[in-house]
Amino acid sequence: MSAPVILSIAFSPANPVTGQTVTATVSYTPGSSGQLFTFKATATDKVSGLTAPVSGSFTVTEPDATTWDTSGNDRVWNQVSDNGAQAVFTAQF
């Protein structure tokens, strides 16, 4: 299980003036959680008919969806999009 990893944050324009809309692009890798699976099988000797159980466990790790929180900033940032690798926000300056 893991949290997302934020790789970078870029702004456009980099030096906005009052009245402009600023776009913040957050590049990230999603967090993940795993699901445990168990494989069980029985091996049978074809001549004697003796059997032996065999089993093993493995985890399937899948990326999880990410939610975002931009509260606490000194202005309102609205989420525009999120494609699983980049989340985009805008704010009025």
Partner: protein, 294 residues
């Protein structure tokens, strides 16, 4: 500089990470619309793009916003001030003037960020008003604004940096700021007219008391400069270090402290001609304009 903080949360497990990044946001730069030669000529003199902000004075309530013709269409963030004679009892603005203000607010443009206030610098002793008149009249005006102005319009108050000094309202400055704490409402932006408190007071020291005063009352408010120059109309001596130093220092402070607007005031009849008598000041204003994005 402005900081952007974002929290990314694993929607399944709840684990999260928080990151912050900073970026620069420069004040919008402009002049009073009455400056010598006009705004269009001023932009040409400074070799910059057309101004997006300007301060427009009205000595009486106009028929409609902004009260004057000839304001360049590039001015998307105008600051319009309207003089209203206050009455001596609540609601502090006559019925006739209330109706006139309603018409002005109703006529504000539905694009850009048009701003309006009444009684520029009226907290000053020279105007002879009480705190009840100032706060009460803004309350009356604000309610009319709320009922009539478009959603993109902003109501503001324009005070003087001098008012927060010991020679102005001093420690009672907060009582003259129209905000929730004084019985009004917290405004999104407040403007300060920024002149040297004395000929030896730096730009920073001239504004800090008023800036801190407003920020302590309304921490989330933007602060803009409604007027700025090295000598006030009431002064006989300008800033001792000179007009060039005043503009260099005041712009640097405005940028460092995330001021939203920086409107300079030039008017020959007020001992502040444009272009300035010193070409170095003109060059500095040009530099400021370019740094602001123009």
């Amino acid at each position: 500089m402005t900081t952007f903080t974002v929290k990314a949360i694993n929607s399944v497990t709840g684990e999260f990470v928080t990151e912050s990044a900073t970026f620069g946001a420069k004040p919008a730069f402009g002049f009073n619309s009455s400056l010598d030669g006009g705004l269009t000529a001023a932009a040409s003199t400074l070799g910059c793009k057309s101004f997006t902000t300007a301060k427009i004075f009205n000595s009486s309530i106009p028929a409609s916003y902004p009260g004057h013709t000839g304001i360049p269409s590039s001015v998307k963030y105008p600051l319009v001030t309207i003089r209203v004679a206050l009455t001596t009892s609540s609601p502090w603005i006559s019925s006739a003037d209330q109706a006139s203000l309603a018409a002005v607010y109703k006529s504000m443009p539905v694009t850009g960020i048009p701003m309006v206030t009444i009684n520029n610098e009226a907290e000053g002793a020279a105007h002879g008003y009480t705190t009840a008149q100032i706060i009460g009249s803004h309350n009356t005006s604000y309610n009319i604004f709320k009922a009539n102005a478009p959603a993109n319009a902003i109501y503001t108050q324009n005070l003087m940096t001098y008012s927060a000094s010991s020679g102005g309202r001093g420690s009672n400055f907060h009582s003259w700021v129209f905000c929730k704490a004084s019985g009004g409402v917290d405004l999104p932006v407040y403007f300060l007219d920024w002149y040297p408190t004395s000929s030896t007071t730096s730009a920073a020291n001239s504004i800090i008391p008023a800036f801190n005063g407003i920020k302590s009352l309304v921490p989330s408010a933007q602060i803009g400069i409604g007027e700025n120059n090295w000598i006030a109309s009431s002064q006989s001596t300008g800033y001792a270090a000179g007009q060039l130093a005043w503009f260099k220092d005041s712009w640097a402070w405005a940028v460092s402290n995330n001021l939203a607007y920086y409107i300079a005031f030039f008017y020959a009849a007020d001992n502040k001609p444009f272009p300035p008598t010193d070409p170095a000041v003109t060059a500095e204003l040009s530099s400021i304009a370019h740094d602001s994005g123009l």
